[in-house]
Amino acid sequence: MASLKDVKIKIGGVAKTKQITKAMYMVASARLRGAQSRIERFRPYAEKFQEILGDLAGKTGETDHPLLAPRAEVKTTGIVLITSDRGLCGGYNVNLIAAALRLAADRRAQGKETLFYCFGRKGRDAVRKLGFPLALEEIGQMNALDFSLANKAGLRLMEDYLGGVLDEVILIYGAFISMARQQPAALPLLPIVPAEASGGEERKIRQGYSYEPQEAALLAEMLPRFIKAQIYRGLLDTSAGEHAARMTAMDNATRNCDELVADLTLLYNKTRQAAITTELIDIVGGVEALKG
């Protein structure tokens, strides 16, 4: 049986770990609020954008734009992998990376090349370790997201796509469904798949609108911005999901610590009791012996 001192040291250790996991839980929940408010602030832009884009796409029916036209033969798939920079958030990053690797394996099985664009340290490390070709890495930015990152990434991807380096681009990110549910999601980024006409619901019919420049040129102007908006959305969602996942993980860890402390305290008390009993028996035995 462990000595009394050993058990005491262990209880102290677990209690300290609990303090840390509890603090991390608090930090994650504060950051989650920040991330959610960013998503909230992005919404008006995204909605208005979607509205105008849907309207224009419906009007022009254009499919000739190079960002819209699917390539006859896909030789290289660009995989944009968004993960967090830091760990300790349960299986969150592992799931994202696994989704990306499944996609890569699938494309390779079809004889295609893959090229990774990584956001977040965790994904970058995994991709690098496995030796997949890596075209772009953005590390240490997941906690201070702003649109300029999406802007830069969007420009780079479109450059590679239009320059023939890539024939399709797929975005892997963590879809933030709810506090308790985050899921890896794959979104085809390029070529742009026109959204299905949102029929049914009553839309403002934009009759008598004037356009400058012509509708088709205006649409061409919108598409690159659409790509950037999608990347930004992916970044925001992944960041919110990371913090939510970390909150869950740290909450579990804190509870496990509580359990461990309870078990260890029980062990401590039992050990102490056993020691006292042994000593008592010794004393009583000694007294008996003296009585002769």
Partner: protein, 132 residues
């Protein structure tokens, strides 16, 4: 006060106010909006928008985007918007220098168009300094 002006960016609503007159930098030229304007949709150049309300005129720098005019509401969708008084002119100056240097070096075409765009942005931003 016949117009409502909303400037929306991915990082939030940058501006939402009433105005008498809005002048918008479209790609095909600057256009002015007064109450009763026809429904209109335009792409924007990277340049400054200005609006009058009462006696004051204020300037906002936009990095390209779209403007929609509908029912006396001007909605601007821009990837970034900075009000003139918030512009960091030192940074704009540095950006201008950088772009000029890059242009002077004459690397490949792609970088050149990009540097050219950066230069235009910086110069137009700097032009706002005199208007404060």
């Amino acid at each position: 006060m016949g117009l409502r002006l909303e400037i929306v960016t991915p990082e939030g609503t940058a501006l939402s106010c009433e105005a008498d007159y809005v002048s918008v930098p479209g790609t095909e030229g600057v256009f002015g909006v007064l109450p009763g304007h026809i429904p209109f949709l335009s792409a924007l150049a990277a340049d400054a928008l200005h609006y009058d309300s009462g006696d004051t005129t204020r300037y906002v720098f936009l990095s390209g985007g779209f403007a929609e005019v509908l029912d006396d509401t001007v909605t601007i969708l821009a990837e970034s918007a900075e009000e003139a008084e918030n512009i960091d002119f030192a940074r704009a100056e540095a950006a201008r220098k950088r772009a000029e240097e890059r242009l002077a070096r004459k690397s490949d075409d792609l970088n050149e168009t990009r540097a050219q765009a950066a230069l235009t942005r910086a110069v137009r931003r700097l032009a706002l300094r005199g208007r404060l």
